[in-house]
Symmetry: C2
Subunit: 204 residues, 2 copies
């Protein structure tokens, strides 16, 4: 039997997304072969993850610093008439890297496994409404005219879009969705910049 | 751009065996969603890995405790006339779990990518010789009559076995190799207990 520390770490890695017992074991033996300083650094960054990284008060993007708003929500050069709703942080990052959108974001949360009432409650729908209606309450002096629903073009993503569109209609804002270019069944996170660009341009 | 701590952790996870940038990013966001106590525990076990886990003075198996020898090398009930040479800790663990061998082990190290002189030097060949010739120098009062070369039945593993067999011949001990039952090109770590058992029984 492996010593306790190794067993515990195998157990922890086994819970990582997509990782089984065997891969978890490989990870631990890989780490066991690394230099002590590297493991200490890894250990430190892990602690920092919960101590230094916080979530933007407005958009829920993770960031570091003293402020309450992330660097995007704080940036006076951003277009405060547009808000782009994404499922997760990686999607926001993919859009930012493509440099095709200059508005603000909102991280809805997820992924959720279905669109049951219970699963939908895991999404930040109430928070989204509050931020669109009264952004100033959250430190952002925006006046959103367009809400871009940039959810993944999957069955669940499409269903969330329809659900949100229905609810958001009451606010009397222009609601658009990413269109042309995104391959059906794919994941936004993996789209190349050209695909993202045409999806932004072809929004409907 | 992701905050520094997230970027650093993505970089660290990207170096894990078989893990690319995207999976590394998923790991970090998975961790970001875990409870603070769980991350602190993870961080602690990582530090323990380099602080508490040590390698047996005789066989190089990882273990925890005050002693210099692991629980197998310390066990008076083990057969001190047989030594089983494995490539890595996981292989030793697989054999132990199958409960088919009662001798001692020796972890040779690896895996190595080829049998070039440079790669072969990464293996503990000198250490193996020292332990077979004078086990008492390392705290084990054994008298090995049989050396079982339990390397993976891969091209590299077979080549290492031939290389070791040649060198070990001088010592005048019986040298056996795991035989019947192991599928060619497979990995010892993944063999089921029955396969391991017939391989032990059919050693030649």
């Amino acid at each position: 039997m492996y010593p306790k520390t190794i067993r515990k770490l195998i157990e922890i890695f086994s819970k990582f997304p997509g990782i089984g017992q065997k891969t978890a074991t490989r990870f631990v033996f890989y780490l066991l072969k690394q230099k002590k300083e590297d493991i200490e650094e890894f250990s430190k960054f892990l602690k920092d993850l919960k101590e230094k990284v916080k979530f933007c008060k407005f958009c829920f993007k993770p960031f570091e610093g003293e402020k309450q708003l992330c660097e995007i929500c704080q940036n006076p050069a951003r277009d405060l008439t547009k808000i782009c709703v994404v499922e997760k942080e990686q999607d926001l990052e993919a859009i930012e890297n493509a440099q095709i959108f200059n508005g603000l974001y909102f991280v809805l949360g997820g992924p959720i496994s279905s669109i049951s009432k219970e699963e939908l409650e895991k999404l930040r729908v109430k928070e989204l409404f509050e931020r669109i209606k009264s952004p100033e309450k959250f430190g952002v002096f925006g006046n959103f005219k367009e809400i871009i629903l940039a959810l993944n073009p999957t069955v669940t993503g499409e269903a969330i879009s329809i659900y949100l569109e229905k609810k958001l209609k009451k606010l009397g804002k222009k609601i658009t969705r990413l269109g042309k270019g995104l391959p059906s069944g794919g994941e936004l996170e993996y789209a190349d910049e050209e695909t993202l660009k045409s999806a932004f341009e072809g929004r409907r």
